[in-house]
Symmetry: C2
Subunit: 168 residues, 2 copies
Amino acid sequence: MYHLLYPLRTFLIVSGKEEANVMTADWLTVISHRPFIVGVAISPKRYTHKLIKECNEFVIAVPTLEMLDAVWIAGTKSGVDKIRKMKITFIDSRTIETKSIKEAVANLECKVIDEKDYGDHTFFVGEVIDYTYNREAFESGMPKVGINFLAHIAMNKFVTFEKEIHMP
Amino acid sequence: MYHLLYPLRTFLIVSGKEEANVMTADWLTVISHRPFIVGVAISPKRYTHKLIKECNEFVIAVPTLEMLDAVWIAGTKSGVDKIRKMKITFIDSRTIETKSIKEAVANLECKVIDEKDYGDHTFFVGEVIDYTYNREAFESGMPKVGINFLAHIAMNKFVTFEKEIHMP
């Protein structure tokens, strides 16, 4: 019944220093403002789990609706052809060895500072030690309205946000 | 720069067995499917932090746009009048002592199974041991399109989701 908390934002996790792998993750949150710390739950069944354990770093790439096909492939396919099918471009990150994704509107570079198993997932806690973002999507670090940030409803159903801002 | 991960869903956290308190939380995620485990980051400055430490349980209430004023009060006000100003109705939860919120479209009843300090927040991990939800908002546990689930952009700016479903 975890869908009671959905729709949830969908993100891409890049892992692996020598050969980059990408998976989707809905189960991700900010944990601390200063220092900037995040957490992401990843199943031990995922190849990404092994790569993060080995490399102790990962990148959170922020996709938009325009990357929906790539997001779907990242979440459902595996194997050597996966990255090619996604039609994404890896670029060097600013500080860590794990690559960023050019097409994403933001890339957050994380160093693992803790990990713990809860139920059927491992919760990796990472400090965001650097980041890059597209100034067309964020202004002064705030998300711009009109950008089709992606959220997941269930299975192959995704939504984005309305353009109207509501203020109490 | 945590707003690079925004807009993020906004939830309400109910805490306290004898006298219920409510705060807003954007920093919340699912961690495990089976058992159903969630995590939420809460600042030690919050009264909710003290109440969760004392009671070892909390409720995640899922608000919609219709509750925006209550959400804003929960996130910005404190003191004895707060709950009255929110104009919400507490109802008994099914299994735990902490109350649920009648106006919310779902209430997840959580028992704390772990907690850890990271940076300026404490991350409380809870097992969802019971829940209730409004069948007008969820069908077979999946969120329905047309329900104005609430997401936070920054400060007093909130958005909801478009009605169009995108499928890869």
